[in-house]
Subunit: 309 residues, 2 copies
C-alpha cells in the first residue's frame, strides 16, 4: 500500500531541528530525522514529547509518525521537503547541502534554518541550487510564527511559503540576502544600545529589560516599528511623524552608543541577569516564557493551528 | 468638611495629559486639569470618558472627580502631586516649571512627562529643583505600565515610585539623565535598522513590521533583550552566549546601517505603511491596538489595577 502522506526530512536535531520536527508532526506530517551526535535520538524524542503537548494545547490535532535514522541517506529516502538544521559552520553546511542535493529528487525543496550564514555561500556546491532556500525560524520555533525566507528560485520560494503557511507560520520573504536576515539585525541593533546603557551605568540590567517588556515591547507584540510610529504621529500618521519628528530621530541615531562586549561590561551583564532571574533556572524561565507565549498566541490568533486554538 | 482625598494637578491636556488624568481618576484620585488651548476641556473630557471605560474593563474601580481650570494657578491650589505635560519645547517647559515651582508647596513632587528633553535643562530656573522629576510614560499612557523616572532628590524619586506603583505602573529609575531616557533610545536603535532595511529594499514595510510582531516582538512583550539572550544561550545562559556569540554580535553591530530619512525613503515608508494599514484609519488601528493591549495586560497581570483585572 502506497503511503501518500508527506514525509519531511529533518537533518540536524538540536533545539531548532527538534522544534521543527514537533511542528511537522503536530500537523500530521511524517518526520524522518537524522543527526550524527551520540544520544541525539533520545534528546529529540524527549524534546518532541514536550513540544507536542504544547502544540496540542494550541489546537494542533495532527499525528505524524517520527522515525530516526543514523544514516542521513536513510532519512532522505522519499522525502518531499527537507529542513536542514546543522551547526552554524559555513564549510560544514556547504558540504552537507551539496550532499543532500545529490540525494533527493531535484523538485524537492531544501530549506536551511541558518541564522548567521548567507544563502549564496552555503549553496555554492549544489547542482540544483535554485531549490535551496533559507528558512529561518525564531526560538522557540514550534511556537513563534515568523519564518524568514531567502530564495532560491521563485517556484521553490512560493512552494515553501505555502507550506509554512499551512503550518500556521508567518513567512517573510526577503528580496535579497542580508547577513542576519531582518529580525536578528533589528534585535542586534536594539541590543547594541541596551549594552551601551549598561556600559554607561544608566540603569540596572533588570530595569533596562523592564523598559522594553513593560513599554514598547508590549506594542511590538502587536505591530512593528513603522506601524508604531504611524500611531505615534496622531491624525497625520507616519507622514506627519516623519516630517515633524524625522529630524529628531536622526539626531537620536547620531547619539546612540557604540559599545564593545569587553570583560567588564560582560561581567556586569551576567551579574545583572542573575539578579533579574532571581534564582530561576533556565528551564524554569523557559517554562514561564512558553506558558506566556502560548497565551499570547491564543490571544492574538497567531498559533500553530492558524488561530483555531 | 475637609477633603482628605489626594488632588493631582494635570498641566497640559494633550493625549499624554488626558491619559494621565484618566489613570488618576480611575484610581479614585481627584484631578484638577488645566490647558490654555481653545477647546481643551471638551477634548479632555471626551478622551477621559473613553479611557475610563477601558480602565474599568481592566478592573479599576476608583471614581475621582475631574475639574478643569482655564487658569493654571487655580488647578494648582491644594495639589498634592503635579503631572506636567506641556509641549516638548525646552524654553516653554523651563518657564512653565519655574512658574509651577513658585505656586505649589515645596514638598509637592512635580513630575514632567517629557520624552525628548533632559531634566537638568528644564528645571534650571526652579528654586526647589530637587522635587522636580522626569516621569515619562508610554503611549497610550493609561494602558502601558512603564514610567521612566529621572531624579530629583532621593525623597522625591522614592515618593514618585511609590505613587506610580500604587497606580499599577512599573517605574524604572535612571541613575543619571540621558536624552531619550531608555526605551525611546532602544526604539530608535531598532528603527534605524528598520529604515536601513527599507532603504536597501530588503523587504516591504509590512514584512519588516511582521518580522518584529511575529518574531522577537512576541518575546519582548514578556522579557527584555538581556533575558532573551540568556534564554538563547542554552544551559550556559547569558555567560555562555556572550562568550561564544559576543564576537558575532559585535561583527553584526559593525555591519548595521546608518540611513538618513531623506525624501525618497520617507515616501517609501509612507506608501508601505498605507499598504500595511489596508484602508484602516488611525482611529481604527488605535482601537485594534488598545483592545489587543488590554488583552495582553490581563494575560500578563500588568494592568492598571495591579493585575487584579
Amino acid at each position: 500500500m502506497e503511503d501518500t502522506r508527506r514525509r519531511i526530512a529533518v537533518v540536524g536535531c538540536g533545539t531548532v531541528g527538534a522544534s521543527w520536527a514537533a511542528l511537522f508532526l503536530a500537523h500530521g506530517l511524517d518526520v524522518a530525522a537524522t543527526d550524527p551526535a551520540p544520544g541525539a535520538e533520545e534528546r529529540l524524542r524527549r524534546f518532541v514529547d514536550r513540544a507536542l503537548e504544547q502544540l496540542r494545547a494550541l489546537g494542533c490535532r495532527g499525528e505524524g509518525r517520527l522515525s530516526f535514522h543514523t544514516a542521513m541517506a536513510d532519512a532522505l529516502i522519499g522525502a518531499t521537503f527537507v529542513q536542514e538544521n546543522a551547526p552554524e559552520n559555513e564549510g560544514l553546511k556547504r558540504r552537507l547541502l551539496a550532499e543532500i542535493d545529490g540525494l533527493v529528487q531535484p523538485e524537492v525543496v531544501i530549506a536551511s534554518s541558518t541564522s548567521a550564514l548567507v544563502r549564496s555561500a552555503i549553496v555554492a556546491d549544489c547542482t540544483h541550487a535554485g531549490r535551496h532556500i533559507v528558512a529561518h525560524p525564531f526560538n522557540p520555533p514550534h511556537l513563534l510564527p515568523l519564518v524568514e525566507i531567502v530564495g532560491g528560485d521563485a517556484a521553490a520560494v512560493a512552494s515553501a511559503v505555502a507550506f509554512y503557511k499551512s503550518l500556521g507560520r508567518r513567512p517573510v520573504v526577503l528580496s535579497r540576502e542580508m547577513p542576519g536576515h531582518i529580525a536578528n539585525r533589528l534585535s542586534s541593533a536594539l541590543y547594541r544600545e541596551a549594552v551601551h546603557l549598561v556600559e554607561q551605568g544608566v540603569a540596572s540590567v533588570a530595569d533596562i529589560d523592564a523598559a522594553i517588556s513593560h513599554g514598547p515591547g508590549l506594542r511590538w507584540a502587536l505591530m512593528g516599528p513603522h506601524m508604531t510610529y504611524h500611531l505615534g504621529g496622531g491624525e497625520g500618521g507616519i507622514a506627519h511623524y516623519l516630517e515633524h519628528l524625522g529630524p529628531s530621530q536622526e539626531r537620536r541615531w547620531a547619539a546612540l552608543g557604540n559599545p564593545s562586549l569587553g570583560p567588564e561590561v560582560r561581567e556586569r551583564i551576567v551579574a545583572g541577569v542573575a539578579e533579574e532571574a532571581a534564582g530561576r533556572s533556565i528551564a524554569e524561565l523557559e517554562a514561564e516564557r512558553d506558558a506566556a507565549l502560548m497565551g499570547l498566541l491564543r490571544l492574538l490568533g497567531r498559533g500553530p493551528a492558524g488561530g483555531a486554538a
